[in-house]
């Protein structure tokens, strides 16, 4: 819960990076995860909508998705791999998917996000304003440091994919989901709902998982789901 005291809308990445270097400023992508209805933490927001980060470009196997691309825009985009399109749809309902962005979803690093799991198996790398390119798995692991600004995410489009999840209802965020992609350089498996953020997992390491439990699924149950669902997606690809 934040108390938003000021709003900035920079028009260049350089300006945005400058603004975000100040403490107590928050990058505002879509805004679906920022609670602004009260709260006592004084905050200024830096809206990224005018930075031109909303393009999707593809070159051969590589698709570059701008940080401010809305999840809704991925759903219907032909250059975007099917699994990413599908999970962009399931990530949010219609009225929020038009607001939520790719960069914001990475920043929020939700444990239940199948969209992030899909990016992981598509070998995503996160492009920062300072020119660094960092594997998404590292970004999710380490979190974003103050002042860091995501400008895009690169994914590899090739390969075949599979997804399986278990939820309370068909459109529920899965308690655990497994996604897998088979490409020239091998098979990647990612899981959501088994740790603080979605993660790439080696099939042989599944029994080493120690998922935190909650009311939707205990640790033991999540470990069981990880096994069952991983087996399903890997079988589907084999």
């Amino acid at each position: 819960m934040y108390r938003i005291d000021a709003y900035h809308r920079p028009t260049s990445v350089t300006e945005a990076v400058g603004l975000l270097a100040e403490p107590a400023r928050l990058a505002l992508a879509g805004g679906t995860t920022i609670r602004h209805d009260g709260g006592s933490t004084p905050t200024e927001v830096v809206d990224l909508q005018a930075l031109g980060l909303d393009r999707i470009e593809s070159e051969r196997d590589l698709v570059r998705i701008g940080a401010m691309v809305r999840l809704h825009d991925l759903v219907g985009h032909e250059a975007v791999p099917d699994l990413i399109r599908r999970t962009a749809r399931s990530e949010m309902p219609s009225t929020l998917r038009t607001i939520a962005t790719v960069g914001g979803t990475i920043g929020a690093a939700g444990s239940d996000s199948t969209f992030l799991a899909a990016l992981l198996v598509h070998d995503a790398s996160v492009q920062f304003a300072d020119g660094r390119s960092v594997a998404l798995s590292s970004v999710l692991n380490d979190g974003l440091a103050t002042g860091e600004l995501i400008v895009a995410v690169d994914v590899h489009a090739s390969g075949t994919t599979a997804i399986a999840g278990t939820g309370r209802t068909p459109a529920d965020d899965p308690i655990v989901a497994a996604v897998a992609r088979s490409a020239e350089d091998g098979v990647r498996l990612a899981l959501s709902g088994v740790g603080p953020t979605p993660e790439l997992v080696e099939p042989g390491d599944l029994d080493r998982l120690e998922p935190p439990g909650d009311f939707r699924g205990s640790s033991a149950y999540r470990r069981h789901l990880a096994q069952v669902l991983s087996t399903r997606v890997l079988q589907e690809l084999s």
């Binding site: 108390r3 938003i4 005291d5 000021a6 709003y7 809308r9 505002l28 879509g30 805004g31 679906t32 609670r35 602004h36 209805d37 009260g38 006592s40 200024e44 927001v45 809206d47 909508q49 809704h72 749809r89 949010m92 309902p93 219609s94 009225t95 929020l96 998917r97 038009t98 607001i99 278990t166 939820g167 309370r168 209802t169 068909p170 459109a171 529920d172 965020d173 308690i175 909650d214 009311f215 939707r216 699924g217 205990s218 149950y221 069981h224 789901l225 069952v228 669902l229």
Partner: protein, 975 residues
């Protein structure tokens, strides 16, 4: 402040806003009242607008983010005359119940059809996925989008009328349903109507009339509690307890009071201590009176501590944070069985709460009722079965949260505009709390965005009124979505044990229901909800020996209260599960076994008079017991069996699909029986007067919360008076203007308020006939007939209603033709229903998917088949959530962990099972035009039907709700 320039509905607009203000709030300030508050986090979609042409929740968008963008609200479609075709489609299909989210759904349709003039069902459901409108079950909204698309493509559309089906039975006897008969294939939004030969064809009653409030809802016109603007309005916020159980040792309000913009801070030290019970029920309300406006003790996380009125919401929130409270934290107890154990913390230890059954054991009520001798019968019986079931806490989730605006009018009377199901109870219950007489209070119920029982409560009105008195300014108090979960009302958790005996022929000979209800921190509806559980749990089946034992326990959970179904869904889950188990135990087909024992026409409802607020001592044998006079259950069962493909339950190839090795399929059934109002208690009044043009004003105390009550009551009056529905101007409800009504609960409105309307209209009709006879020179007024807005003599001469009105108002023997009536019912005719479900179980993960829900209901004559089927669709969808995915999760300190939609999961449009609704007509002689109730029975059967389907699929019986994946997996794993 930042200055924001937007293009709003095609016109440039500039507005100043602080950086934290949401776009939704700014749009409402600009007069776009169609943009509604459902939460601050966007999941309800009630505030969805088009942002550069795309549907987006304006409550999560900061107003400055919208600077330079195009914003469209539903007001863009509004013209002086009529409705846009999309709005028209939503009204015609019955897609708007409360209509709270109408603007969002209509805008979403507009955006969808712009890109795709002929969208698939999947595309429609995807568009609706962000707008939570489960009160409709999304069935009719999908049909509305389809219809709008056809209208915009310029196609002719069929009227929205029921699909009339041939009966499959003779009305009394069971039939074998042909496995090859797939039944009607038609739009699921159209109810399947099975007419009865006993029911005559009428002009208005029985027809799918459009809702009388359709226009204002479809246009997003300001009709709801929050849709008024008042000069000098103050905003209230409440400080809630962070502890499940604590004493307030000290409270320091100095910093809060000193904050600029704060006008009042109220708490137990400066507010009179007046005891009350908050449940919206008839005088004198079930005791104990165990609440006060502000107490020196808190009994659940979310209990009230203090309240503030300030110039803005932000100042009020800041003031709440500045109130310093010193608590002495006490041990807490959350489980109803643990609360009754020795040594449990005593939750109501205060001296001024009287009539607690056993204070030291937290037992607020204990009651029992018996017919025959259960113990002796069980002793003697060859087969005895016992099983314990546990049901959980869920919330009503009206998309419009509780909201009240209170002010002193020019006469310094207290006016309370509030989202309530019980305006008259609220007026009476509020009076002592604020120290004003009833005559100095006026309660207004505008349009309501759903209630489902949560608003059968005097919940926040006292806070707003206290603050209005303290400040002499209008005060607005609205709960947030989070507060709605833990500071309003919920469904009672229960532990239910059934013990039953059957003879060798499969006849029930004894049934003992032992119930422990969890009423949380306060009693409110604790007595009556558990009483209804006993009534419903022991009424469905004939049995010579029945016994009900009930304890109601205080605990430290957020307070349960009224929730549509009111104790019946809990009881019927246990009962229908238990009956299924008995059938399997004696190797009988469950449906056959139930049929052998269920009540039907002529059977006595013998426990009913001995349970409840006006119970007769069970030692007293009454001269007469209520009986069932109408039942269409066999037709319901036949239609439901055909719809669900009931024969498949015995087909192993279907149950274990070869191509999906981890899937098992199953079908389940539940027999449902409910009531129609509370006999000898519920009462409704109506007054009708004739206007110059031959139209009528009809004033009813009955409280339409989106159910279509105003429409149904208007249809009854129109039928009697021989006019069209649009000649009846319905107004509900306002304690200064309309006659009394107990309110919208207990499935009473159609049956009880409807009979009051019938009688008032008959009184008006009598006088119209007398005056028409004079005008037409007829000796016998009773020979005059009213139809087509004219009064007709036997010789075919006639006078129009307008001529008659002008004559009697202005010309000769001037009088106001008017009539009033009220009605209290000695009867409570049960509606019956057959609930069927089809499910799939993933036996490796425990995930249950519900594929189809069919309910065939005998609600007597459906006054309006479209609104009646809408009630069933929405009710089943809520019942599905109860069975399948909704639950309160708490940490060890009693703090709710999932007080947000999403983590608290309610069904949305893109994940719904198929639904099919059948309305089986019977003629209930005691009801208006043969009607019985329909509002609550759809809540009763889904949970047991799913449980029984899981048995059919896997052989495993699960006795706790909800059927979430881990629970089912654990049950399969240990089987």
């Amino acid at each position: 402040m930042t200055t924001i320039s937007i293009v709003l509905n095609g016109v440039a607009a500039t507005v100043d806003a602080p950086p934290h203000e949401s776009l939704a709030s700014v749009l409402r300030r600009l007069g776009m009242f169609s943009v509604k508050y459902g939460s601050a986090t966007g999941e309800t979609g009630a505030a969805a607008v088009l942002f550069d042409g795309r549907l987006a929740s304006a409550d999560v968008i900061l107003a400055p983010q919208a600077d330079g963008h195009e914003i469209t609200t539903v007001e863009v479609l509004n013209t002086a005359n009529g409705l846009h075709p999309i709005q028209e489609a939503f009204v015609a299909t019955g897609a708007l119940q409360s209509g709270y989210s109408a603007g969002a759904m209509i805008l979403g349709t507009m955006a969808l059809l712009e890109h795709d003039p002929d969208p698939s069902e999947a595309a429609i459901r995807d568009m609706l996925s962000g707008i939570l409108d489960r009160e409709t079950g999304y069935v009719k909204p999908v049909a509305a989008v389809r219809r709008a698309a056809a209208l915009l493509r310029g196609e002719e559309v069929e009227p929205c009328v029921p699909i009339v089906l041939e009966p499959m039975t003779d009305g009394t006897n069971a039939v074998v349903v042909d496995a090859d008969d797939a039944g009607p294939q038609a739009d699921p939004a159209l109810p399947r109507l099975i007419p009865s030969v006993d029911v005559p064809e009428l002009a208005v009653v029985g027809h799918a009339e459009a809702k009388v409030d359709g226009l204002k809802l479809a246009k997003g016109n300001p009709a709801f509690t929050d849709d008024i603007e008042m000069r000098g309005l103050l905003y209230a916020k409440v400080l809630y307890s962070p502890h499940a159980h604590a004493r307030i040792v000290d409270i320091d309000d100095r910093a809060a009071t000193a904050l600029p913009g704060v006008h009042a801070v109220l708490h137990h030290r400066n507010t009179p201590r007046v005891k009350y019970a908050s449940g919206g029920q008839s005088w004198p309300n079930p005791h104990p009176y165990d609440q006060v406006s502000f107490d020196d003790k808190v009994r659940h996380v979310g209990d009230r501590v203090a309240a503030v009125a300030a110039e803005t919401i932000e100042i009020a929130e800041e003031a709440v944070r500045l109130i310093e409270v010193t608590y002495e934290v006490l041990p807490a107890v959350f489980d109803e069985l643990e609360a009754m154990q020795p040594g449990a913390p005593i939750i109501h230890d205060e001296a001024d709460t009287h009539d607690i059954h056993d204070r030291d054991r937290n037992i607020v009520h204990h009651f029992e009722a018996e017919r025959g001798d259960v113990n002796a019968a069980i002793e003697a019986a060859p087969h005895v079965f016992e099983r314990t079931f546990r049901v959980h806490q869920v919330q009503q989730v009206p998309i419009e949260p509780h909201i009240t605006i209170a002010w002193l009018d020019a006469d310094e009377r207290m006016v309370v505009r509030t989202a309530t199901q019980v305006p008259f109870h609220t007026r009476r219950m509020l009076a002592p709390l604020i120290g004003m007489e009833v005559k100095r209070i006026r309660v207004i119920k505008p349009r309501i965005g759903g209630g489902f029982g949560a608003k059968q409560e005097m919940l926040i009105e006292d806070i707003a009124a206290h603050l209005a008195i303290a400040t002499r300014r209008p005060v607005r108090l609205e709960l947030t979505r989070e507060e709605e979960f833990w500071a309003s009302r919920t469904r009672h958790p229960q532990t239910i044990t059934f013990r039953s005996a059957v003879d060798d022929d499969g006849n029930l000979v004894a049934q003992h229901m032992r119930l422990v209800g969890n009423t949380g921190a306060y009693g409110t509806h604790g007595y009556t909800v558990q009483a209804v559980s006993g009534l419903r749990g022991l009424s469905s089946y004939n049995c010579p020996n029945k016994r009900f034992d009930c304890d109601v326990a205080y605990t430290n959970i957020p307070v349960p209260g009224a929730y549509r179904g009111y104790g019946a869904p809990q009881a019927l889950f246990a009962l229908e599960a238990h009956m299924e188990d008995i059938a399997r135990g004696i190797d009988r087909d469950p449906l056959e076994f139930k049929r052998q024992n269920w009540v039907t026409v002529g059977d006595e409802l013998d426990i009913a008079p001995h349970i409840g607020e006006r119970a007769t001592d069970d030692a007293v044998e009454l001269d007469e017991y209520p009986k069932v006079h109408s039942s269409g259950i066999e037709e319901c069962v036949a239609q439901g069996q055909r719809s669900i493909g009931w024969h498949r339950r015995l087909d192993p190839a279907w149950r274990e699909p070869a191509d999906r090795p981890h899937i098992r399929r199953g079908l389940g059934f539940a027999f449902c029986m409910h009531g129609s109002g509370i006999p000898f208690l519920d009462m409704g009044g109506c007054s009708i007067k004739l206007n110059d043009d031959g139209s009528f004003n009809m004033l009813v105390g009955a409280t339409d919360l989106g159910t279509g009550a105003d429409t149904v009551l208007g249809q009854i009056a129109a039928e009697v008076l021989g006019v069209a529905l649009d000649d009846i101007i319905v107004y509900s409800s306002d304690t200064d203007m309309t006659p009394f009504d107990t309110g919208a609960y207990a499935s009473s409105t159609t049956y009880i308020s409807g009979t009051a309307v019938l009688h008032a209209a008959e009184a008006v009709r009598k006088r119209i006939k007398e005056r028409a006879a004079e005008m037409l020179g007829v000796d016998e007024p009773c020979t005059i007939e009213l139809h087509d807005k004219r009064a007709w003599a036997p010789d075919g001469t006639s006078v129009s209603m307008e001529e008659l009105a002008l004559h009697t108002l202005h010309w000769e023997d001037q009088e106001q033709i008017m009539g009033t009536a009220s009605y209290m019912s000695p009867d409570c005719p049960p509606p019956f229903a057959a609930q069927f479900v089809e499910i799939e179980v993933d036996v490796q993960t425990g995930q249950v998917e519900v594929i189809k829900m069919t309910m065939a209901v005998d609600c007597g004559v459906a006054i309006n088949p479209i609104t009646a089927s809408g009630q069933v669709e929405g009710g089943m969808t809520q019942a599905l959530g109860y069975a399948h995915c909704e639950e309160f999760a708490f940490d060890s300190g009693g703090r709710m962990l999932n007080d947000r939609l999403g983590p608290y999961k309610i069904y949305r449009a893109d994940e719904m099972p198929d639904t099919e609704v059948f309305l089986v007509q019977t003629l209930e002689d005691s009801g208006p035009f043969g009607a019985k109730a329909v509002a609550e029975i759809p809540k009763d059967g889904v949970a047991p039907a799913i449980r029984n389907a899981i048995i059919n699929a896997t052989g495993v019986a699960i006795d706790d709700l909800p059927f979430t994946p881990e629970r089912v997996w654990a049950a399969l794993d240990s089987a």
